[in-house]
Subunit: 293 residues, 2 copies
């Protein structure tokens, strides 16, 4: 029998790439190039913190057009340069902006309102990949053009998932300019959905935000004895020199690879998992993103 | 009209404590003493890290009896003294134990198996407070004796929520001794439910764990160039001198206060929230815990 081993092994090696992936990570690793979409450089916000640490945020102009337009405007004005991360509340958010609340706004920002918290579905044909599992916060959920969405009969909106970025505001009807931003660093605070605008997601450097010291002031704001984290610059990737631009791709949420990924996220059964759940939360099946190869 | 103001104000002051609370935080703040239950000192694990930072874990012997018995045994043997936090994976877990994997176990640990991942409901009368919202991972959810549970027709089990503590294991059918523990530091990885034993929750010091530097090795393990976080001691609170014992209370999950709290977690409508979700995730309605007054 031993003499057969080399042949058998080489046969296994030849077959291995064809074998069906049995984990979500394997699906992502084996997804063909056609399953990936480049992320446009003018939809990437590059934040550089003191010490040179980089955080990259992908914006969602298709789902949050007015707030994203304001954010692009603010980035082009270099408005966030020399601002800071001022609030880190455990299991909630890390939030940044102008601590003085007195920095003048650039011209041309659009007014926003509660109408900007979701995308009306009437008269639109969106290619939706449904997530066929119950959700405690919305009648249905799914994926549209690379983004998770929660939906009712009339609108789709971005959920507050881990790493997602939203726009701070004061009391309603204020919906925020986009100047005060936060990233979710804990259990998805979905109660904020449609009460605050979600505008994108952190796709690089999330651990930098989530591991910051928590603020000891009310709501996790840093106290005068603590130290806001200086933001050196925030730039659109499209405004950086070519050599400095980060390049990312996201999985096509209409692809077979993504369907396989969702199925396996909901049905873990491999050497480690014995009992598949048969379901997965919208915020626990994040759209795969990778550095462009 | 001005002359009426002082009277009107004092009338408001007299009435204020009677007014129905409109936020979950207000319900917790106003809950009567009868709505709280002391947490037994022999169900509290006190972990002291280098620098004196304290993490307190409440154990759940009622829901995870065999693993908790092992953990109590390990704590009484001072087994975790001079071990370390060896793994911090972003949006997943912080994990601690014996990095050498060679430290001898104390005698008397019970064997565990997949049968220890949940509590059979047959022949039991559990007072269950239902959470009447859809869950993507289980047919139903609720609260039992101060703990969130997911349920099917035959069993109840502790969910992997933020701050919850589980027992590391190797490949199944191994279910872990209880010596290797982790706390969830991100979006609830509910796919682990009934694949790993959950044994309790962090009730003090969670931010210490969640803000640790992430490990850069595979699965977030610290590499040789990084530094595991030394654990000085782990003790049951009941073994500490009276003056050093932490004292906590949890809300009675059968109380009216808890019912009010759940209703408001699912239906935020106040000066800030405009649009209530009408539902809440099991892991987003944590059982209130407080230092004993």
């Amino acid at each position: 029998m031993n003499r057969l081993l080399p042949l058998a092994l080489s046969a296994i090696c030849l077959m291995a790439p064809m074998a069906a992936a049995t984990t979500p990570a394997a699906v992502v690793a084996q997804a063909p190039a056609a399953a990936w979409r480049p992320i446009a450089a003018d939809e990437l916000l590059v934040m550089t913190l003191e010490g040179g640490k980089r955080v990259v945020i992908q914006l969602a102009p298709g789902l949050s057009p007015r707030h994203v337009a304001n954010i692009v405007n603010l980035a082009k004005a270099h408005w966030w340069d020399r601002t800071s991360i001022n609030r880190v509340q455990d299991n909630y958010v890390a939030q940044w902006g102008d601590a003085t609340e007195k920095k003048p706004m650039p011209p041309g920002l659009s007014p926003t309102s509660a109408d900007d918290y979701g995308l009306p579905l009437a008269n639109r044909r969106l290619a939706i990949t449904p997530l066929p599992y119950a959700d405690p916060y919305a009648p249905s959920t799914g994926y549209v053009a690379g983004w998770p969405v929660a939906m009712d009969g009339s609108a789709a909106w971005l959920p507050h998932c881990y790493g997602y970025v939203g726009v701070g505001r004061n009391l309603s009807p204020d919906a925020g300019t986009g100047a005060e931003l936060y990233a979710v660093i804990g259990q998805a605070p979905r109660q904020l959905d449609r009460n605050i605008a979600v505008v994108g997601r952190v796709i690089e450097g999330m651990a930098t935000l989530s591991s910051l010291p928590r603020g000891s002031g009310e709501l996790g704001f840093y106290t005068p004895q603590e130290h806001p984290v200086p933001i050196l610059t925030v730039r659109l990737a499209s405004e950086l020199p070519q050599a400095e631009r980060p390049r990312f791709e996201m999985m096509d949420t209409g692809s077979q690879s993504f369907a396989d990924y969702l199925r396996l996220r909901a049905n873990r059964k491999d050497d480690f998992y014995e009992r598949p759940a048969g379901g997965v939360d919208l915020c626990n099946a994040p759209v795969p993103v990778r550095a462009a190869p």
